[in-house]
């Protein structure tokens, strides 16, 4: 039986300072008994012979100096089991769907140790999301972490849901199990996700963790860790391919800042703590493949860029850790294009490993480079047209300009329920569009690929 201390010295924001304790371990779990008989949970943030600082997950309201504090002698663990699939939990990992408690197969530390880089396997398997701008130009690869950078009011949730619904591998048509972690999302958003999961039957292959906007902010700090612990367990112990959706990482970072401020830490950029990079990395890096193990963890975190500013610390630090980003654009959204994915600042770093012969098609790389280059040039020309008018452009430039509009209208735009095949739909559409450009503008494509895939030649060659 653990000792209960009634020696709270100070309570500040989400933090409780306890003195005159016996030695307490760093990161240990804490239980606080309040005067009304209820309990709250917390974690040790700083421990010394004089004083112990506890961060309380459910907020400190109702705690007084007479409350009893118990140190449980272990760090936070999650009870994991295969039965978690199809279940809904709160942000701290307790079931909230009225079902039976989880009978643990194992209790895992939620602070995941780093995977030894030597034990990792290189991600290389193509995932087809059915969205042309992702599959064709910013390919998602199994084991990758590819965030969606969005803004308030943009349809990032739809994109995430579409990915979750359509994601599959080409060869075996393996489907993914989804681990979903909502952090500080509104009840409405939560409902939207849940009803889509139920409508499509995806819920039976999903584990859902919900920390709502009204739940304590501090709890948000453990929600992604809990979700990733469940994901790693299902992937590496049971061989599932897991797609983890974390939304919204911006709320997570706000919670991080809140704790930092309460601890009176020296703030870094825009008040976010200096260790935010390390902290985010500890979450994002929990994706990948392990040599000799069957499953995989692929992450699609979503974050809303405050003020659509990609240089804001949250998207900035995220971009330095993740393997690329999918950028959602307000301008395309205003034009009524769904999914409003702006490919120019988007990037998938692992794309080259997942495309080409044997994965998608040999022409994939060159075609995507060409589409990128032509679209970038076309978008540049729009600025010029606004000043000099379309007539002043050369023939080549006019066609590039038209291409960029066509690209947005046909390649980027697709329906929420449209699942495009990489070769038959996405790449063919790409060829169809660039064949409108003069051949001299197609410098990214070599002769061999041209003669085999360019609509002007391939039919001739077939004969």
């Amino acid at each position: 039986m653990q000792k209960e201390y009634k020696t709270i010295r100070e309570i500040a924001g989400p933090l409780v300072f306890v003195e005159k304790t016996e030695p307490v371990g760093y990161g240990e779990l804490v239980q606080i008994a309040m005067p009304d008989g209820s309990t709250k949970r917390g974690q040790v943030l700083d421990t010394s012979k004089d004083i112990v600082v506890v961060q309380v997950f459910e907020g400190t309201s109702g705690i007084d100096r007479a409350s009893g504090v118990k140190f449980l002698g272990e760090t936070i663990k999650l009870s994991v089991s295969k039965d978690m699939l199809g279940r809904i939990f709160n942000g701290a990992g307790e079931p909230i769907d009225g079902g039976a408690p989880i009978v643990p197969e194992k209790r895992s530390e939620i602070i995941g140790a780093a995977i030894n880089p030597y034990s990792r396997a290189s991600p290389h398997e193509f995932i087809q999301t059915g969205i042309s701008t992702i599959d064709g130009l910013n390919t998602l690869v199994m084991g990758q972490k590819l965030p969606i950078f969005s803004g308030s009011g943009l349809p990032h949730n739809d994109i995430a849901l579409q990915i979750a619904r359509q994601a599959k591998t080409l060869g075996s048509d393996r489907e993914f199990a989804v681990v979903f972690a909502g952090m500080g999302i509104t009840n409405e958003e939560a409902h939207y996700f849940m009803s889509d999961f139920e409508r499509t039957g995806a819920l039976s292959r999903a584990v859902v963790f919900m920390n709502l906007a009204s739940d304590p902010a501090v709890e948000r700090l453990i929600t992604p860790r809990i979700a990733l612990t469940a994901a790693e367990y299902l992937a590496f112990e049971h061989g599932y391919d897991i797609l983890v959706i974390l939304t919204d990482m911006t709320n997570y970072c706000e919670a991080l800042r809140q704790i930092g401020a309460a601890r009176e830490e020296v703030p870094g950029r825009r008040g976010y703590p200096g260790y935010m990079y390390t902290d985010l990395a500890q979450n994002y890096e929990r994706a990948g493949l392990i040599k000799g193990k069957a499953g995989s963890v692929t992450q699609v975190p979503i974050l809303t860029m405050p003020g659509d500013d990609i240089t804001h610390p949250i998207p900035d630090l995220t971009g330095y850790i993740t393997e690329g980003q999918i950028v959602v654009s307000r301008e395309l959204h205003r034009k009524g294009i769904y999914p409003p994915i702006f490919v120019l600042p988007s990037l998938s770093r692992l794309m080259n490993a997942g495309i080409g012969e044997g994965q998608t098609r040999e022409d994939h790389k060159q075609l995507s480079d060409q589409l990128y280059a032509a679209y970038a040039e076309g978008v540049d020309l729009r600025g010029l047209v606004a000043i000099v008018g379309k007539e002043a452009l050369s023939e080549r430039d006019q066609r590039l300009l038209e291409f960029s509009d066509d690209f947005e209208d046909r390649f980027v735009r697709q329906g929420r329920e449209i699942d495009r095949h990489i070769g038959d739909d996405t790449l063919e559409l790409g060829w169809d569009m660039i064949s409108a450009l003069p051949e001299s503008a197609l410098t990214r494509i070599d002769k061999k690929i041209m003669s085999q895939y360019h609509p002007a030649y391939r039919d001739k060659n077939k004969k």
């Binding site: 030695p23 030597y118 950029r269 200096g274 990395a281 971009g319 970038a376 010029l384 001299s440």
Partner: protein, 580 residues
């Protein structure tokens, strides 16, 4: 390790632990807690010592024991370093995996070198020789391509009493000095202390990289320093890896400091399969990898660059040209910031500690081409990636780095978005070695080298000015000669400066090919300008088919043989044009 003093933990706050009862020196290595986590003393205050711990501290309690080893953080130097893959404090990752599984747990120590392998030692020094620190005792064939020279440890000197040859492990005695000092194949060296050399040479030999924009426009000298700043997605890592693969350094030390796990894995899986273009053997035979990913303990990240540069200096002392890639130094600076803020130090700019600038300059100053203690020439070239927050080069790490380094390869997100790779901005980048290396290039690449480079830079500069006008009035409004300049600039940009690091042929361009390629483009410029003066129109001149052919030919294996033919075709096609 020997234990000098014992005390106990007073406080634990993340990676920072305060202990009492030991009286260590600064930077002594201590073992913390029952699990003996490795840490380093970074501050002393009264009886309390502050320790940064290299491993996760969850569950560690006040009152647990702390032991001082009395040694500072050191690495083991000897045969077996090459082909190794280490974490930030020289623990071999494969050994860690064997002892703790796929995840990096804590409390495991592993020596940097394998102490069981026997190396065939050939003595070159003999009994009776007077030797000093850094002198060569003999050699060991470390990998098929690299001969490892066994050095007298710095700070040791005397007359050799006996020396043996034959097969020995790194810690067996291979000889003794008259004063009784025992010599082994390995010795230890503290990472925070630069290794001694006799004097520094001026940097006047280039590090040839095979990347056209770097060798031609912004070259780096052997023993020089370069910074690659760029926002995320601009291709820092690809450039670093390309340099590691192809630059003509004999030894490569690659430090992945706080970067992505999957990216390190790519390096770890790819390097062993890559062929060294010079020897034909695996590239790994001349490489040491240090991988400390972003989610591994922050204190070990701080140490990883020092570990890397110490290994680099050790091979320099054997007379090799070594290049050290640090990706990324910003993560190192952030590790300093994180630890500094846990110490509640007064922050400088953007929360970085006030000593950021001095730490950076101390680190880059360890680069250089030197005469070693043994009288050979060796060099350490340092190429540091910088990841500026928000892609903004005015932030402290970039600015403090630029004050020290001589070469600046500015990565540009605009170029990256247009898929212009390497996305090095030719207008903002610079190299201060340009002038001193000019003579070398004239001798070894082409007599016209310096002139051609100057012409190229002038065209690119003129293009940027013309582009501003084109943005306003369109290119058709420009006079014809300027339209032609734009076309030549396009050829330079798209054909010469763009280079595909993932293409088998294009990834590495030999120096003589670079010289000839550039000369052919400028040859076109010369002829086209003359033709323009004789009344041939710009669209005709820019429309000749050989130009696109030139762009595609660089991907051909026999590009060097094609160039003279292309040159001839340029001449024929231009002279075949008629006046309008």
């Amino acid at each position: 390790m020997e234990v000098k003093a014992k005390g106990e933990i007073f406080r634990v706050s993340g990676p920072v632990v305060t202990a009492e009862g030991i009286s260590p020196r600064m930077y002594d290595v201590v073992l913390v807690g029952h699990e003996k986590l490795m840490g380093e003393v970074i501050r002393l205050e009264g009886d309390k010592s502050t320790i940064q711990v290299y491993e996760d501290t969850s569950g560690i309690r006040p009152g647990e024991p702390v032991e001082n080893t009395g040694e500072s953080l050191s690495v083991e130097l000897g045969p077996g370093l090459l082909r190794s893959i280490y974490d930030g404090i020289q623990r071999p990752l494969p050994v860690l995996r064997d002892s703790m599984g796929d995840y990096i747990l804590r409390g495991v120590t592993a020596p940097g070198l394998d102490h069981t392998v026997k190396w065939d030692f050939k003595a070159t020094a003999k009994a009776g020789d007077e030797v000093n620190g850094g002198d060569i005792l003999g050699t060991v064939q470390e990998t098929p391509t690299i001969v490892h020279k066994i050095l007298v440890p710095p700070k040791v000197s005397g007359k050799i009493k006996s020396i043996k040859k034959g097969k020995y492990t790194v810690d067996e005695v291979i000889g003794t000095l008259e004063d009784g000092t025992e010599l082994q194949l390995m010795h230890k060296w503290p990472v925070r202390e630069p290794r001694p050399f006799s004097r520094k040479h001026p940097p006047d030999i280039p590090l040839v990289t095979g990347t056209r924009i770097l060798d031609s426009l912004f070259p780096i000298a052997k023993g020089g320093t370069a910074a690659i700043p760029g926002g995320f997605g601009t291709g820092k890592t690809v450039i670093q890896q390309t340099l590691a693969k192809w630059s003509d350094a004999q030894i490569v030390v690659y430090v992945g400091c706080g970067e992505r796990g999957n990216e390190m894995t790519e390096v770890l899986t790819e390097f062993p399969h890559l062929k060294d273009p010079k020897t034909g053997g695996p590239l790994m035979d001349r490489t040491v990898l240090i991988a400390n990913t972003s989610n591994m303990p922050v204190a070990a990240r701080e140490a990883s660059v020092y570990t890397g540069i110490t290994l680099a200096e050790y091979y320099r002392d054997q007379g090799y040209d070594v290049s050290l890639m640090a990706d990324s130094t910003s993560r190192w600076a952030e590790a300093m910031r994180e630890i500094s803020s846990r110490l509640e130090e007064m922050p400088g700019e953007e929360g970085y500690p006030a000593y950021l600038a001095s730490r950076l300059s101390e680190f880059y100053e360890r680069a250089g081409r030197v005469e070693t203690m043994a009288g050979d020439d060796g060099s350490v070239t340092v190429i540091g990636a910088v990841s500026p927050a928000g892609g903004d080069f005015s932030e402290p790490v970039t600015q403090n780095t630029l004050r020290i380094v001589k070469v600046f390869w500015a990565l540009d997100s605009k170029l990256a978005q247009k898929r212009h790779f390497p996305a090095i901005n030719w207008l903002t980048s610079y190299s201060l070695y340009n002038r001193v290396l000019g003579d070398w290039y004239s001798e070894n690449a082409s007599e016209k080298w310096s002139d051609n480079i100057a012409t190229t830079m002038a065209i690119l500069q003129e293009e940027s000015e013309l582009q501003e006008i084109v943005q306003l009035v369109g290119s058709d409004a420009l006079p014809e000669d300027q339209q032609l300049t734009l076309e030549v600039a396009r050829l330079l940009r798209e054909f010469y400066l763009q280079q595909n690091a993932f293409h088998d042929v294009d990834t590495y361009c030999k120096l003589n090919v670079q010289a000839e390629f550039l000369d052919v483009i400028l040859y076109y410029k010369e002829l086209a300008e003359a033709a323009l003066a004789s009344g041939i129109s710009v669209p005709n001149l820019t429309g000749i088919p050989v130009l696109e052919e030139l762009g595609r030919s660089k991907f051909e294996e026999n590009f060097i043989d094609l160039l003279p033919k292309l040159r001839k075709r340029i001449k024929n096609e231009i002279s075949g044009l008629k006046e309008d």
